[in-house]
């Protein structure tokens, strides 16, 4: 298997090699959804690297031997492993493959985002999203390689290791792919649920967004504007425009920085009605593609073009659906149903 796989060549079925996020971005790309271009540093690259590390001294058996209750031991191990991951030279062919891919992706030196894409992350039953890392506005290939290494190292963070021990995941199956994606200089960004997070209603789409990069919304640092749209009708039934005090923008030397919004921007909706409807269209397409409601991260570039950053199946209401009974059973005659209105409350 190659160390690098382009989005256009992978799908959700490739999760074991490109991770959940990589597989999903590949799937969306293949489905014709606008996703910023990118590639995945595959599990093969990680395995090659790990092999090199373990050739010196084992790693997986140490993690497997960990007592999840013993925080002290976990902290100590995490520090050791992190140093080893950060200091071990990368296998030459992996490093070359990454540099070549980066050159192809960023012909004009465009910045990238580097995000971990664990093979277990986003799993419908054991979401440990958020335990892995994301690095935004990474400026060059060397920096990108450092960030890939940090993503790998995050597998051995205290939280990540103890979580795996508690869940009793075998370490052999635990690997990390990393997504490297052209960075969107977002005018605004946010999340979209293709069903209601409050009632589970599948006929509405909830969109939340704020100015600047989506990181401020995902991390909860800014209260986003919120809209509820009819999935089928497009009617906008709810508009909550919040006071968005700040936004995150690219920093000059790489990374991101938070800046204050002026008064007018704070109170202005970050999306127009047309943009909301464009987002709804994309949301519907993705939902149709997967055949179930989705939890989506999106951004609008400076020209207002909608770009998809991530999509995963909605899990909370999906579990409730499985247990729910039908609203009403069919009747012998359609008009028998009117007794529900005319017959009074059933005791």
């Amino acid at each position: 298997m190659d160390a690098v796989a382009w989005f256009a060549d992978v799908g959700i079925a490739d999760r074991p090699t490109v991770g959940g996020k990589g597989g999903s971005l590949g799937e969306l790309t293949q489905a014709g959804i606008d996703v910023p271009p990118g590639f995945v540093v595959t599990v093969a690259a990680f395995e090659q690297f790990l092999e090199k590390l373990e050739a010196r001294e084992p790693i997986r058996p140490l993690v497997e031997a960990l007592d999840p209750q013993d925080l002290g031991a976990a902290t100590k191990l995490s520090e050791q492993l992190r140093v080893r991951v950060m200091e071990e030279a990368m296998p030459t062919e992996v490093q070359d493959a990454l540099k070549t891919a980066h050159a192809r992706l960023c012909e004009d030196g465009q910045p990238v985002a580097v995000r971990s894409s664990a093979t277990t992350e986003d799993a419908e039953d054991a979401s440990f999203a958020g335990l892995q890392d994301t690095f935004l506005w990474v400026l060059d290939a060397d920096d990108m390689i450092e960030r890939v290494r940090e993503c790998w190292a995050s597998l051995y963070s205290v939280e990540s290791m103890t979580y795996r021990r508690k869940q009793d995941f075998p370490e052999v199956g635990v690997a990390m792919a990393v997504v490297v994606q052209r960075m969107v200089d977002a005018k605004c960004a946010g999340v979209m649920f293709t069903r209601s997070p409050t009632t589970g209603d599948k006929s509405v789409i909830t969109i939340e967004g704020a100015w600047g990069l989506g990181s401020s919304v995902v991390s909860g640092e800014v209260t986003p504007d919120k809209w509820v749209l009819g999935k089928i009708t497009g009617e906008i039934s709810q508009r909550d425009i919040s006071d968005k005090h700040a936004r995150q923008v690219p920093a000059e030397g790489g990374g991101i920085v938070e800046i204050e919004n002026d008064d007018e921007r704070r109170k202005s909706p970050c999306l127009t009605d047309d943009e909301l409807l464009a987002l709804r269209e994309v949301g519907r397409r993705i939902e149709r593609h997967y055949g179930k409601p989705q939890d989506i991260e999106w951004a609008l570039d400076q020209d207002g073009k909608v770009l998809l950053l991530q999509s995963r199946p909605e899990t909370v209401w999906a579990m409730k659906d499985a247990e729910s009974a039908p609203v009403r059973k069919p009747e012998g005659k359609a008009y028998n149903h009117v007794m529900a209105i005319f017959g009074g409350k059933k005791k």
Partner: protein, 613 residues
Amino acid sequence: MSEKSFPLPSSLKVTPGTEAAQAAYPYYAQFQPGDDERFWFYNSMHFPEPMHHFDMITAEAAYCALGAFNTRVHVLPTTKGIDHRIINGRVFIGGVPVTDPEEVEARAAEFQQRGFYYYENWEKLYDQWKDKMKALIAQAQDLPTPHLPQLEPMETTHTGKGVAANHALIETYRKQLNGYYQMWHHHFEFLLLGYGAYMTFFDFCKTAFPEISDQAISRMVAGMEAEIFKPDEEVKRLARRAVELGVDQHFTADMDIESVLADLDKVGGPGKEWLGELETSRNPWFNVNVGDGFYHYHRSWNDDLSMPFAALPGYIEKIKAGENIERPMDQLIKERDQMVADYRELLDTEEDKATYDQLIELAHRVFPYVEGHKFYCEHWYTNLFFNKIREFGALLAEHGFWEKEEDVFHLTHYELESAIIDLMLSWSSGSPPMGPSRWPAIVAERQKAIDTWAGETVPPALGQVPEAIDDPAIVMLWGITRESLDTWLSDGEGDPNELRGFAACNGVVEGTARVIRSVKEIDRIQQGDILVCQVTNPTWSPLFQKISAAVSDIGGSMSHMAIVAREYGLPAVVGTGNASQKIRDGARIRVDGGKGTVTILEQSAETRELEDA
């Protein structure tokens, strides 16, 4: 939260100076001592203005019929009829729920033989209904204009008729009254059953899709070829004919209708042909009135052509520019069917899909009646009725009973019958009638009372606050729920510049409010204005090409206005309660047709002073 309640009926005082006018309403519509124990609400939906004494006939005829069908014809299990009371010109109504479980059960068994028979045979019975209604309308049209000749025509003698002209007065009057009461029976023959089928689908959708909007459900149910679209389609047809016949230059924004008609007649050929087309449109489709048809002053297009004529120049301009102004019927039907299919696809189980199919099919079966009956009842028949009464008004005015024909509406229908008999006696005996010395003072007194009452604030409800409102008739016809009571109880706590109503058609628009109180004012509307009015109905739809949004005091999300607004894609909020009072003409407002809110952004002090002065 503090315990809030509505005032008791017994605490309401008749406004000083209007006692006689109040006492003149029928005794059976006056509040009684025991009424404090019950819950009443102000029927602002149907009777938003103080009632002229004659117009109370609409309330009593309607409640006679509504109750008869609920209580004794279809036998609705949980509810009987509606009681009504009037104080200070305002109509309050109270439901009569059935609460004894045994009685509910017994009535349910009856209902399943009676109401179900209607559902089973809906199409056949509805066809019959249309025949009955048309026959009733024909009868009303055949009634002679009341008239008293100096001497009986010779014909009476030669044919041995044996009945003199004064008898025709009482005969015509009573026939016309009978017809009106009967029309209201026809009106309620299907209505509750139709709404019930619709509500069943509505409830299913609200359970399956908790956040679905009322307007989305209404759009799935709406019929495409309903009578309510016809009047506007006729105006479009007339615009098209004007262009085809080359007479379109006669129709301008500032035209005087009378001279346009005279000019067209003079032009001859094509002009006369167009006038012929106008006659075709007028009968029956211009028998729509500019209100809900519940008041005598809701005049029809036929009585006043300004509404349809106001729309002609705009349509003509569009036709000449090559624009298509026809309703894209095939596309509308396709869109509706697509919507029904799209919601169906979101249902989780096959059982729900089967139920959904049953309910939408039933709703589509009953809806032609729900949408169509108003044209025949509230518009066509009601216009004939009030115009006939107007003829009596004119005849009695001629004999000095009062000054102008409209004054007749200050009498109750009993009083009017007595005035007619007074005139019959006078014609018969050759002595002067007594009415002229009696009625003018009463008419003046009642006009003054109506003016006084019109300025009063009306409590939305009276009496005991019910635990819950599960009377299907009240929920369906008036949209009153426990939630709306809570809103009423907390009135005055919200943002005073924000009004809430039913979200009728999606879209946000900011613009200048044009508060229109009668059809006489429609020429004040400028392109892009937001129409603010008390009642809107399909007859206002020709104006929709000119305005950018619409706001009304009255109406629900399935009101005809809402249906038409959605077709035009015109942002609209209906049923705000008091927008036409709170919003001053010329104010800057924002209408959010998706949320159902209207915000007053800027209301100049000048307009306010003018109004307050």
